[in-house]
């Protein structure tokens, strides 16, 4: 784990990871002692297509500055086709967020297999940096949930 420099803005990242690939990938990155920021909070879901657009919005509401959804590579979904549906849904949702003027770099979809511990860590490092550059989420936040 990296030690955070408190002076810098520490974004809160929510990562939805499917149980069968990406969550195992996150596990592998841990057992391989690869570093990824503590800013990343993982929520395990049975399949990437379990993630309803409301989950993404709720994550922002509860204080996330960036939300990333990870699943099995296309073609490898444990349930055969779940991630293909996810891909269309998230594409349209992210496009709508962009249309409403919400910064597009706050959302991402990444395919991470159970064998890709290194990719998981790299993705999280990269995404956290991208969100850090954007600063705190102000356009899709719920003021009642803001931490002082």
């Amino acid at each position: 784990m990296q030690v955070n420099d408190n002076k810098e803005f520490q974004p809160l990242i929510v990562a939805f990871c499917c149980n069968w690939c990406s969550y195992a990938g996150a596990d592998l990155s841990g057992t391989n002692r690869l570093n990824y920021p503590t800013n990343v909070k993982i929520i395990r879901v049975p399949c990437s297509c379990r993630v309803n657009p409301m989950f993404i919005l709720r994550a922002f509401q509860r204080g996330a500055d960036g939300v990333i959804l990870c699943g099995c590579h296309p073609g490898d979904c444990h349930y055969t086709s779940g991630n293909y549906f996810t891909r269309r849904r998230m594409t349209l949702l992210f496009s709508m967020l962009d249309f409403l003027g919400i910064e597009r770099d706050r959302t991402r979809v990444e395919w991470v297999s159970a064998a890709e511990g290194a990719k998981f860590a790299a993705t999280m490092n990269e995404f956290t940096e991208a969100v850090r550059k954007l600063g705190p989420n102000r356009r899709l936040e719920d003021l009642r949930c803001r931490k002082q």
Binding site: M54, Y84, M96
Partner: protein
């Protein structure tokens, strides 16, 4: 037109082909035309209205009406037939219980736009070569015809009836509607400008839910916004997050099923341009997954219930348009 419709409805009632008729009658004001069910020739003669203010789409009422005893006659404008088809596709209405008569549509007038010119006491209106002559209790008034047209009719996508049992009047064509022009305009301003635009619009929302209630695609028995456990149940939005959330989720739920019938924008008491949200999804679907018109047929797979192995990745959103 109104005469012909009443006469045909009376015939069908008399020979027992149908038991009820869904059409429109006048509400509190002359221009306030509201859907209504008629069961007799007398009722039709007394109340049935079809005029330039008759804009409501009756297809959603058939969800309940078609499950009742007997057969119902429905008058559908071209745009309404798309909603009707979509409802058949989603198994929401019982087709056997409905007799559809296709009727010519608009352009329809929007009383709110006339009132916005300070014209009140409207009794009726007629188009005279681009000028709308309005008959009011205070005398005659005039305004440019185009400015009085409802938003949905300005960008009419089709004068073609996609489903009917019989037609009164002529069938028309699919039109080149320019309906994505405004969406495109918004795509090409900066994210900050888009954000400001939508804040100004969405902050007007009073969460009356009229847009959901009127929508022929919003026919869920239990809507997420009615679920007290969802945390987003019906109540006035407390802050900008809830305003955004309601509109994103409402539009997302109908993505790929919205026929662009325009009812949501028409009924919004706050004049929020909801059609721009729906059209953004339609435009994206067309450009990313191939042209698709919901309600055009009853067999195609909805774009969000479908996929291709080589669909674009979500990152495409980050690569195009203006940041």
């Amino acid at each position: 037109m109104q005469e012909a419709m009443i006469n045909r409805a009376k015939q069908l009632l008399a020979d027992g082909s149908v038991d009820r008729v869904i059409g429109w009658k006048r509400g509190e004001f002359e221009y306030d035309i509201t859907p209504a069910v008629f069961t007799s020739a007398e009722e039709l003669d007394a109340d049935f209205v079809y005029d330039d203010f008759t804009a409501a789409n009756v297809s959603k009422y058939l969800v309940k009406e078609s499950k009742k005893e007997g057969k119902i006659l429905a008058f559908l404008k071209p745009c309404d037939t798309y909603s009707f088809n979509q409802l058949i596709k989603e198994h929401r209405i019982v087709r056997e219980n409905i007799y559809v008569i296709g009727i010519p549509g608009g352009p329809k007038l929007d009383a709110e736009r006339i009132k916005a010119k300070g014209i009140t006491g409207i009794l009726g209106a007629k188009n005279d070569n681009g000028t709308l002559i309005i008959d009011t209790v205070y005398g005659e008034e005039k305004m440019p015809y185009y400015e009085a047209l409802s938003v949905k009719c300005r960008n009419c996508k089709s004068k073609n009836h996609v489903v009917y049992d019989e037609l009164i009047g002529e069938d028309g064509d699919i039109l080149d509607s320019n309906r994505f022009d405004m969406v495109e305009k918004l795509e090409n301003i900066t994210a900050q400008e888009r954000y400001d635009f939508w804040r100004e619009q969405l902050s007007k929302c009073i969460r009356c839910n009229a847009c959901r209630n009127v929508c022929p695609a919003c026919t869920c028995e239990k809507c997420v916004f009615d679920n007290p456990d969802s945390g987003v149940e019906n109540k006035a939005a407390t802050d900008s997050f809830e305003e955004n959330m309601f509109h994103i989720i409402r539009a997302f739920h109908v993505a790929g099923r919205c026929t662009d019938c325009g009812e949501c924008s028409r009924v919004c008491p706050q004049n929020i341009p909801l059609h721009l949200l729906n059209r953004k999804f339609i435009k994206d679907i067309n450009s990313l997954y191939g042209d698709y018109q919901a309600g055009e047929d009853t067999t195609s797979r909805a774009p969000l219930n479908d996929y291709k192995q080589d669909d674009c990745e979500a990152s495409i959103v980050h690569e195009r348009g203006v940041e």
